[in-house]
Symmetry: none
Subunit: 415 residues, 2 copies
Amino acid sequence: MNAEIISVGTELLLGNILNSNAQFLAQQFAELGIPHYFQTVVGDNPDRLKQAIRIASDRANLIVFTGGLGPTPDDLTTETIADFFSTPLIEKAEVVEDIAAKFAQRGRKMTDNNHKQALIPEGAEILYNAIGSAPGMIWQPRSDLTILTFPGVPTEMKYMWHEVAVPYLRQQGWGKEIIVSRTLRFWGISESALAEKVGTFFDSQNPTVAPYANYGEVKLRISAKSSSEPAAQDLIAPVEQQLREIAGIDYYGADEDSLASVVGELLKGHRSTLSVAESCTGGGLGQMLTRVSGSSEYFWGGIISYDNSVKENLLGVDPTAIATQGAVSAIVAEQMAMGVRSRLNTTWGISITGVAGPGGGTEEKPVGLVYIGLANAEGAVSQRYRFGDRGRDWVRQVSACSALDRLRRKLLSNA
Amino acid sequence: MNAEIISVGTELLLGNILNSNAQFLAQQFAELGIPHYFQTVVGDNPDRLKQAIRIASDRANLIVFTGGLGPTPDDLTTETIADFFSTPLIEKAEVVEDIAAKFAQRGRKMTDNNHKQALIPEGAEILYNAIGSAPGMIWQPRSDLTILTFPGVPTEMKYMWHEVAVPYLRQQGWGKEIIVSRTLRFWGISESALAEKVGTFFDSQNPTVAPYANYGEVKLRISAKSSSEPAAQDLIAPVEQQLREIAGIDYYGADEDSLASVVGELLKGHRSTLSVAESCTGGGLGQMLTRVSGSSEYFWGGIISYDNSVKENLLGVDPTAIATQGAVSAIVAEQMAMGVRSRLNTTWGISITGVAGPGGGTEEKPVGLVYIGLANAEGAVSQRYRFGDRGRDWVRQVSACSALDRLRRKLLSNA
């Protein structure tokens, strides 16, 4: 028993729209525990749509179509499916009435085009669309194959899925098993290094464990299949515990956690406050911290010291240090962190100064060289990072995350 | 001659990520005039990936794969393609060296896992990845079939596409009829209001004109099809001129322009400098300004005054104004703008103070209420915005853009 998605629409093939419907349906299949191995995108072309139907109907028991149910001549999904299974179309009187009533409600007249939307293959049932004019259908052209069609408009598709399709599928025996996932998040370790530590888990069948990486962050996704959510959670919990033990401090949070939210919780636990001094990130660290709703409890603000005059005048960085060591140096990072901490009167001060690129790199101080400073009542320390020349956005994003991670490790070691 | 996309990754089948790579490639095919009829998504499973390769290789001359090139055991794309075409894998020494060098640059050691990324089918060439460790390949397993593989990380995939794949494809004779597009960007006008002004252009055939809207920005995409780029540009130019004339000052730039880059050019033209005082955006405006490489020429920095104590102590905002009018008020916005301007000694000061939500809204000061202040030598003015309760990220992003747009209009009226 497995499902496939066929997304119909030339606008998808032209790249005019993102296929968010396929992502939604994929998530829904996962939650319902419906195996799902292939997705196909095809244009509004009957011959090629038939090819896609032939391939999918040979390997799946459930095919979900989105798109091509509208009133215009290029909306061909229903008639092409009927044609593929050599079944005549019949007009459903209740659909005509429903569309006419919806048009009347909005003070409009139904056009001849809309009659097309009332045609479905003989033997099929209407999949009612309460919020738009285009209904879908539920059809079993063969005893081992169920077809569901949905309009391409995401709001209508999602509404119909939840209200009509899910109850129908459950009644038909689909979705007896559910899949629950949990994402563990890591910072400060590469995907390959983490894989070497926890690689044996990748062979696990239930739950499965799979690694992902993006912008310096590494994630492990644990997915368990079971008949109920608590049972799935019971499968996940011991694996999560083992993975976290193996990873140690490189693990920082799960699911919706971010480095900023985790650092925020730690600061709240310590009743501590934070300020930031940013050079190459230009405000990105503050932006990250304040994405967290409620961050005003511990984040007081900061100074964006992009120009050296701001480093000197507002943060109190020694001009001689800039002249001799350069603005991207350990001493300047330390003085920036101390300066912002004392001027904003916070427990902690973090600073970032680096070469974000693409220009400005030298042999001695290449693009991607970043110093992060951390100050508290005891003084300031700094750390040097080499993030490489991987693009301005990348260097800035990874710098801000690394700064948060520095503070996270410090707060944990003090705990 | 036609192309297909095969997106490989169980995370796509689980709905964990949106298939934005397929949209990007689809747009690129459209721009290059490469016909493209099918897209397939398949998991990290060799048997099913082979099924997808069999189907695609029977109907396409160019197959572009994304995903499954990483160092972990579930990254199977390259070896499965080689296996399908019964071709042995060979290790490319230059790839091993390149990966080792990239790891060394970041102070890390290459792991055994990464050796896997240096394996490609005999006869294939490396599709170089300048910004990540996973290279792709260019391979013609049959004289009528070209295969390109890319990592799933969008930034790497796009970079490799533009830098390596497009020149290669053009050299091979793909993309003889080309589509050239130009995106005009507008701020301060709604999509429907702009559509009322320029709606007649939407019926145009060559070039076509289509509207898009996202996060408060409205765009018009002009696309012309022709045999050469200059000929396509000749079709676009008169339409662009008319659209810009109709839109007036709401038009701010085209293609890769951003409000931050356009404001930066205006500031440079006026030999003026800028500083920012941010409350609810928490650094997001500074981050936006400094995304522009070279922004240090006119952007000196700012003060993130998240806590009221920072507004008072570092920006000189009158505590009585905060007590009587509230931190989200016209007077506080104006004092913030004046304060940052004088403390950083810049020509202009911009400030943002508002209620980003989700909490903190009142009847009098609801979520989405934002004041933007603008100061120069003549003093400060402020403007009140009601962005609505559309999510914290939305309010913050639109606030920062609106602040830049305020300065843009001011700089243009002074020109």
